[in-house]
């Protein structure tokens, strides 16, 4: 079974190499890219079932034993993230294939899109299964460098401007991460996460807090935690729709994933938990207020993305098994729902020619399918029962209430308020873009834009134009179904999250997993 662990990284990497080889021919490129992600999804599901029911998998690369060699670790959290990421990446790839066919990529193929996308997948997977901090850094760099290419794809002025902000901010966080790795190595003489966890208690508390804060700032920039979230709403909305969807769903969550590892395994102490709870509160409220003030659907969604990062940080900041479990379930829910909403925004952009809610209207009449595909995940994100967003928030609030002090109740209040504000922002989109008639739109630019858009399609490739939006709609619909599935099968998924959270309650289980022979902690290996 351990043979499957490196395949998680190798399959997308080899897929990227193959797509580069056939770079001039879009059709085999697409087939290889989709094939690689399907294999990835199958591997992920097999890993999740094995890890959940048998034992976590630890692979020592090249046969070098744990503290000396590189270890790859797949526990429940990592396996769950691999599966969800593979689903999301696959759906977004199918969406972009559909968009590419519609936009006539056959004539002007962007031959680097698919290879870069697969390398992004590789980086994401490396980050999930890395067993030492430096490998985590390398995983982050792989995914960031490919995200630099994807966010500036096409090189138009607005994308370059947004890309520059994104690149410089990401570089800064990477350097900070590298510097904290250097400091940790200087203090502890190791970069293997399990060994750091073993040795961390030997350090004085103030040194521990310094290293802890450095790592949290580095990951906080990536996860877009307030006040380090300023870059996200400026850079994400300008990228191509599928790229934004993949980034919004996945990249910030990898920062949260790293924060979970830091808080549960490396620095399990409660020193910074109150500070993290305050940051979670500010992230939620400021993000939601930003969403209310915006007039562009993609920017509204970017701000809701920031605000919902606050919920996950809240779960992590509790420092209990229940809190971690709730945060893990919320991450899974949010990856799926946020990606779906951005894909729906991509469909809106195609239908109406714009994503500014002041300029579009009447979409409920002209595109009822898109309306449904936007409405369901919007309710889900807002936390309307019975959807998974409601279940995730309920779990979080229950775990928070167990703490029972004033700060905890303030956070529950803020969480409920933010969920209302999210709903308000999304209902505003619904009312303006979908429900009001297109005659009510000032200037009525949308119809003009629509006729301009439709004109060349009706004359040239009629068959291509007819089939392709169907592929885009289908992949979005698929994601909506996954979101509903997450609601229907919330029991089993929450079960996996709970068991993952129990294993992450303190570093004992993680150390046991990587060093099975050392029996410092009493807990048996499962």
């Amino acid at each position: 079974m351990t043979a499957l662990v490196p395949l998680v990284v190798l399959v997308p990497l080899l897929g990227a190499a193959l797509t580069l080889v056939v770079g001039r021919r879009p059709r085999p490129q697409r087939i290889i890219a989709i094939g690689a992600l399907v294999i990835e999804l199958v591997i992920g599901i097999v890993l999740l079932i094995h890890v959940d029911q048998v034992a976590p998998l630890v692979m020592e690369v090249g046969g070098w034993q744990a503290p000396f060699g590189i270890v790859l670790v797949v526990d429940r959290l990592a396996a769950l993230m691999i599966v969800v990421s593979a689903i999301v990446l696959l759906a977004v790839l199918v969406f972009s294939v559909g968009q590419g066919l519609a936009d006539g990529d056959e004539e002007t193929p962007v031959s680097i899109y698919n290879p870069t996308y697969l390398i992004l997948t590789t980086g994401v997977m490396v980050a999930f299964i890395a067993g030492d901090l430096f490998n985590l850094y390398v995983g982050f760099e792989i995914l960031l460098v490919s995200s630099y290419v994807l966010i500036t794809l096409g090189g138009t002025e607005s994308r370059i401007r947004a890309g520059v902000t994104y690149v410089v901010v990401s570089l800064l966080s990477s350097l900070l991460f590298l510097a904290s790795i250097a400091m940790i190595y200087g203090a502890l003489g190791t970069v293997t996460i399990a060994q750091i966890a073993q040795r961390i208690d030997e350090l004085p508390v103030d040194v521990q807090i310094l290293l802890h804060v450095m790592l949290l700032v580095a990951f906080g920039i990536k996860a877009a935690v307030f006040p380090l979230s300023f870059w996200l709403p400026d850079s994400y909305p300008t990228a191509p729709a599928p790229v934004t969807a993949a980034f919004a769903g996945l990249l910030t969550k990898i920062g949260v994933y790293a924060i979970i590892r830091v808080e549960t395994v490396i620095f399990p102490g409660p020193e910074l938990n109150p500070a993290l709870m305050v940051l979670a509160l500010l992230t939620m409220v400021v993000g939601a207020l930003g969403a209310v003030a915006q007039a562009d659907i993609k920017r509204i969604l970017s701000f809701t993305l920031v605000s919902h990062i606050g919920y996950m940080i809240l779960g992590v900041a509790l420092g209990t098994a229940e809190g971690t479990a709730a945060a893990i379930f919320y991450i899974v829910h949010h990856i799926v729902v946020q990606t779906t909403l951005f894909l729906a925004a991509g469909l809106i952009e195609r239908e109406a020619g714009s994503t500014s809610i002041t300029r579009i209207g009447g979409l409920l009449a002209s595109a009822p399918v898109v309306a449904a595909l936007f409405f369901i995940p919007a309710l889900n994100l807002g936390g309307i029962p019975p959807f998974s967003g409601f279940l995730g928030k309920l779990g979080l609030f229950q775990a928070t209430a167990q703490q029972g002090d004033a700060l905890a109740y303030a956070l529950i209040g803020a969480g409920a308020l933010v969920s209302l504000l999210t709903l308000y922002a999304l209902v505003r989109v619904w009312n303006l873009a979908f429900w009001r008639s297109s005659d009510a739109v000032e200037g009525d630019e949308s119809r003009l834009l629509r006729s301009v858009e439709e004109a060349p399609l009706s004359t040239s490739t009629v068959s291509g134009a007819r089939t392709t939006p169907r592929l885009m709609t289908l992949s979005t619909a698929g994601m909506v179904v996954v979101g509903i599935g997450l609601t229907v099968f919330a029991g089993p998924v929450y079960g996996v999250a709970t068991r993952a959270g129990e294993k992450l309650d303190g570093p004992g289980a993680y150390i046991q997993m990587v060093f099975p022979l050392s029996t410092e902690e009493g807990s048996p290996r499962d």
Binding site: V145, R161, V164, V168, L172, L175, A179, I181, G186
Partner: protein
Amino acid sequence: MTVSLVLVVIMSAMYACAVYLLLERSLTRVLLGFLLAGNATNLLILIMVGEAGIAPIYDESVDPSEYTDPLPQALILTAIVITFAVSAFLLALIYRSWRLANADDFSDDADDLALREGTVLIEAEETLPEASTTDFPLDREDSR
């Protein structure tokens, strides 16, 4: 752990200059700042080796404690490769930005400006950069 004071002083100076350059609006200077900060970080990893020893090539007659620690060197090598690739990309980005906008400086986000002024109209404003904030020539006619 004993560290070389010279290396620490050099690292601090590089970090200080890097922060100064990163706060500039001109992208070329930001790139230089990033390069300095990257190398300062590499130096920080090198400092973490502690006292320098002999080259870590296996020799039976040498006591293991006399070798210098090889792991940070491996980390630096990886970091250098990554920094190199990223700065090449950043340079390409800056050149593209200059070709498109005739400016190599950070511009404010159009939506943020609109929000600050209380309007929802989104219009990208094009202005000539101040001569002092850019390192590229400002001949606007030739560049298009």
